[in-house]
Amino acid sequence: MRRTLPSLVGGLLLAAGCHAHQVQAKQNTMEAPPQQPQVSSARPVRTTPGGMLDPKAMHQIQSSLSRHGASAPSSGQLDDETQEALRKFQRNQHIAETGMPDYDTLRRLGLDPKSIYVGGAQRAARNTPSPKREDANAKDGDAGDGQGDRRQ
């Protein structure tokens, strides 16, 4: 650890230079995570909550948060304000304050996690054209590819 970490930091400084021109061209998108294709399986897996929730599902969460006294903007996105509202709601409920819409949080908001997450992922997959559909696990009901992980 002693040798690896400083070497990584040093290497990072040097290698980052190779990409500096790209950085300048993408100043506004710098803080977005690397884009990843989504994975299809019977139980849809996504890299971020934003990849599993479509705007309709997010609106449901935001209006439910507002009804429960944790005012959230009606943006249809899992933005910083919505995460803060989720944390406030979780604090009031005495559960772990992760700021993420986990299953227990959704149930406490009076929402069904399956319709929010799986339904959201399926709607997102239907609405987004996918260049390559992965072989689906048809027996279990494939959730499809939600290509383009929307970091919100």
Binding site: M1, V9, M30, V39, V45
Partner: protein, 377 residues
């Protein structure tokens, strides 16, 4: 005769009440004894707790002041684990359906993970097949595991007890089950929010389908605003100091039936590099690094950021691949290959020992070249 029968009928509820009272009286001592016996059986460690209580109507179990200390104990030794309170809850409804579903909540835990040299003589472990392993155990599910206000300390005992400190940790793990039907069509979900060292904010989101045909998961990690000064214990060793600046790291990774892809994007902001001592070599190194930072930063006032994207690619499908070292090897390879050509040593081809040992091996610079971990060039 009829009066005699009536008296017997009264006896039945009386006996039931007496049984319930006896259970309530003796339940706590019996469970306390069983728990202590369980703690005594932990290999290489000793466990104690302050108090325990069991409830029957809402079936549950509360353990207070759990402390696990490594044995043989040393003077001023910190416990491997301390938890102020652990609550476990079962569901009568699921129990009646033949499933054991449990909710676990842990308050104010402190877990210390020592990183040491492993025992190389331990035999290699067979590859883990998650779905088969889950189906081989009785029908049970962990509906939710929750850690509140906790901390994890990674202690590198091979290097002067250097520490990586995760604190204010909030973690949830939901929908882990040994049967498909207990997962209700939803993936296993892990969410984590914690602080890293003094300044970094770390968020993690992970979804996993343990019953897919191969290893299938996806997740992301976001580290924001970690002051480089928080890494002083590591950076000064290389002869350099990073007194100013911060680092953000965004990583996302997907694994579809054993094929791992992803990317890591580190962003350095407002970095200043100085020499850790007055040696000429270190001064030159610091000057070069500082100039490189100035040249390649995006020159946005107040940010001056430099960034790169490091691709991740790996294959976890082959039967002789060891999961933990290979995932870590792929991640480490991505950093190593993407950031510095001089660091090409990567983890061992075979995972030996336990998960911690494998993880430490995978992250060690001194380990050998992996066979299975592939790198996208």
């Amino acid at each position: 005769m009829a009066g005699h029968r009536k008296r017997w009928l009264w006896l039945i509820p009386g006996v039931l009440v007496a049984l319930v009272v006896l259970v309530l009286i003796f339940l706590n001592p019996i469970v306390t004894y069983a728990t202590q016996r369980g703690l005594d059986r932990i290999a290489g460690a000793s466990g104690t707790f302050k108090k325990l209580s069991v409830t029957l109507i809402h079936p549950g179990y509360n353990l207070y002041g759990l402390k696990i200390v490594e044995m043989p104990a040393k003077p001023k030794q910190e416990p491997l684990m301390y938890a102020e309170r652990i609550e476990m809850r079962w569901s009568w409804r699921e129990i009646l359906h033949g499933h054991l579903v449990r909710r676990v909540k842990i308050w104010k835990a402190r877990v210390q993970v020592p990183m040491r040299k492993g025992d190389e003589s331990k035999p290699s472990q067979p590859p883990l097949e998650i779905a088969k392993t889950l189906e081989s155990v009785p029908s049970a599910g962990l509906e939710r595991l929750e850690l509140v206000d906790s901390q994890i300390v990674l202690v590198d005992e091979t290097h002067d007890d250097q520490r990586i400190w995760l604190h204010d940790l909030q973690l949830t793990l939901e929908n882990m089950a040994s049967r498909k039907q207990l997962m209700h069509g939803l993936p296993l979900l892990v969410t984590l929010r914690t602080k890293l060292q003094n300044t970094g904010a770390l968020d993690t989101f992970l979804t996993m389908d343990p019953f897919d045909k191969g290893l299938t998961f996806a997740g992301s990690v976001e580290l924001r605003h970690l002051a480089l000064a928080d890494l002083h214990q590591f950076t000064t060793i290389a002869g350099l100091k990073l007194p100013e600046g911060s680092i953000d790291v965004f990583a996302s990774i997907t694994c579809k039936r054993g094929v791992l892809t992803g990317g890591v994007k580190p962003i350095l902001k407002n970095v200043k590099v100085t020499s850790a001592d007055n040696g000429l070599g270190n001064k030159i190194k610091a000057l070069l690094a500082d100039v490189a930072v100035k040249i390649f930063s995006d020159r946005v006032p107040g940010r001056n950021a430099i960034s790169t994207i490091v691709p991740i690619h790996g294959d976890l499908k082959k039967p002789d691949v060891q999961l933990v070292p290979t995932v870590l090897a792929v991640l480490r390879n991505a950093f190593v290959e993407g950031l510095s050509a001089s660091l090409t040593n990567v983890p061992p081809p075979q995972g030996q020992g336990g998960i911690l040992h494998q993880a430490r091996q995978a992250l060690s610079k001194d380990s050998k070249q992996p066979v299975e971990a592939k790198q996208k060039q």
